[in-house]
């Protein structure tokens, strides 16, 4: 059950997307998301869909996995869609009881849903093709200038790396504890909301105990190896931006402009 969580899962591979510098990818996704929010035309969204489809194709990741990452959002999507459909003022198309559907409402609903879907799909593509460690490295490097104003960038990155490192461990641990309590006859499925909340105690207590124990052990291990923060620390793998990465960034820049000005471009061309 917990194994089904795919958000943030990395699929190793050798495609162009996998090989790009994580910084380039991160900035690209930020640009992509920004243009999604600035763009107001269906033309722009069309471009985004095409581009994303192309990315999925060359990444070699099955579109099924992208759909899977969207699954937890179905409820939010429906909610957004329905609320926008009913509550946007404008030209009324249908009306029943106190509800009315407006033309503008349908448009906004479609926009919103598309926007969320594209947003999640794009960020999923980032995490599917970039290992979490590479990603935190990229964040650390991108935030490096903030060190000048005494922001503890390295420490944040280290905490993030550790947190990411322990997500699978804790999921596995939870799975194990759940199995162990089930073996003792614990029942997580039946009963009302209060029963279900009570049933969580035998899982949460051991989980917290073990998380604290692991944190303690890790801290000791780090100190034994004389960890003293980011000062003068070198890396095993230094990130290097190559021509390919700059080309990708340049391409993304142009792409963003295209998306933002899609409507105007189309009106000029037609």
């Amino acid at each position: 059950m917990l194994r089904d969580i795919t958000l943030g899962q990395f699929f190793p591979g050798t495609s162009l997307l996998h090989r790009l510098d994580p910084r380039a990818k991160l900035v690209s996704v930020v640009l992509f998301v920004a243009s999604l929010f600035i763009s107001k035309s269906f033309w722009g969204y069309g471009l985004c869909i095409l581009f994303l489809a192309w990315c999925i194709r060359i990444s070699g990741i099955s579109p099924k996995m992208i759909l899977k990452s969207l699954k937890p959002l179905v409820i939010i999507l429906c909610f957004t869609g329905i609320l926008n459909m009913f509550y946007t003022p404008g030209e009324v198309l249908a009306r029943f009881w106190i509800f009315k559907i407006t033309r503008e409402g349908i448009y906004t609903a479609a926009y919103m849903i598309l926007r969320i879907v594209l947003l999640i799909a794009a960020t999923s593509m980032l995490t599917y093709t970039t290992s979490p460690i590479a990603l935190t490295d990229a964040i650390e490097r991108l935030l490096n200038p903030l060190k000048k104003i005494h922001v503890p960038v390295h420490e944040f990155a280290m905490m993030m790396t550790i947190a990411l490192r322990f997500i699978p461990t804790l999921i596995e641990e939870t799975d194990k504890i759940m199995s162990a309590q089930k073996a003792r006859g614990a029942d997580f499925e039946t009963g009302g909301i209060i029963d279900k909340a009570k049933a969580l105690v035998p899982i949460l207590v051991p989980l917290f105990v073990s998380a604290f124990r692991r944190a303690d052990e890790l801290a000791t291990a780090m100190e034994c190896r004389l960890y003293h923060g980011g000062e003068g620390r070198t890396r095993l793998n230094t990130l290097v931006m190559t021509g390919r990465d700059y080309a990708a960034l340049g391409f993304m820049g142009v792409f963003c402009l295209l998306v933002i000005y899609a409507e105007r471009l189309v009106s000029i061309l037609l």
């Binding site: 504890i177 162990a180 003792r184 105690v201």
Partner: protein, 285 residues
Amino acid sequence: MPEILSVQHISHIYSAGTPFERAAIKDISLSLQEGEFVGLIGHTGSGKSTLVQHLNGLLKPTSGRVLVDGQDIHASKEATRAARFKVGLVFQYPEYQLFEETVYKDIAFGPRNMKLDEAEIDRRVRAAAAQVGLSEDLLEVSPFDLSGGQKRRVAIAGVFAMEPRLLVLDEPMAGLDPVGREEIIRCIVNYRETTGATILFVTHSMEDAARIADRLIVLNQGEVLMEGTPGEVFARSEELLQAGLDIPTVTRLFMTLKSRGLPLSDAVYTVEQAMDEILRLKEGR
């Protein structure tokens, strides 16, 4: 002896349909008779832990059936739940599942889930505590204040208190010192003597397996490699070594002696047997 557990051609595939697909166990069949003491051996990744989680229905086989008392445990929800109580499973490092405020309450968790009445729960908790050698005054202590070995015994008592007819233990001695290991073995033997239950215990230590089990099942890469009495299994030591498994030190020593031309038996796996065998040889001369 009636058959208590029958595993019929089960396979389990993890993460089916993703790039991480992996078969943990492949077409395994085995059966346990009432009252048997069986050791399940295999090294890390041989599928031992996956297999034992099928025995009480925690995992559902991708194909094949598991029968407890002749009943398919996945026939219905009730059957699965019944199997949970008939087959008691002690996980690896069971001390990490403790959560209650007192030892007593923690041991009572299983029986309470079985919806027994208070008097019966009390009887079972005290009986289980006695079986694992916990004194009465420890029952009101927080389990988090105990030593590692004591915690392990509390966790095992938590399963004993459910009085399962088939007790499955996954590496119950892992990470303990020799004294702790002895204590755990004593607990298992105690439980078996007082309840007459069937025991299946998983281990990668050939020494432990050789010493206490009546019958051994050896797993390798998700398949049953061999099955038989310790004597039969260790007579095939060459094969065990080839599969990357360990053999008891005594057996290893006897293999070397034999290769030097001494007429010794193949099936030696305890120090006592070794002594008898050496004496026999001396007197024979």
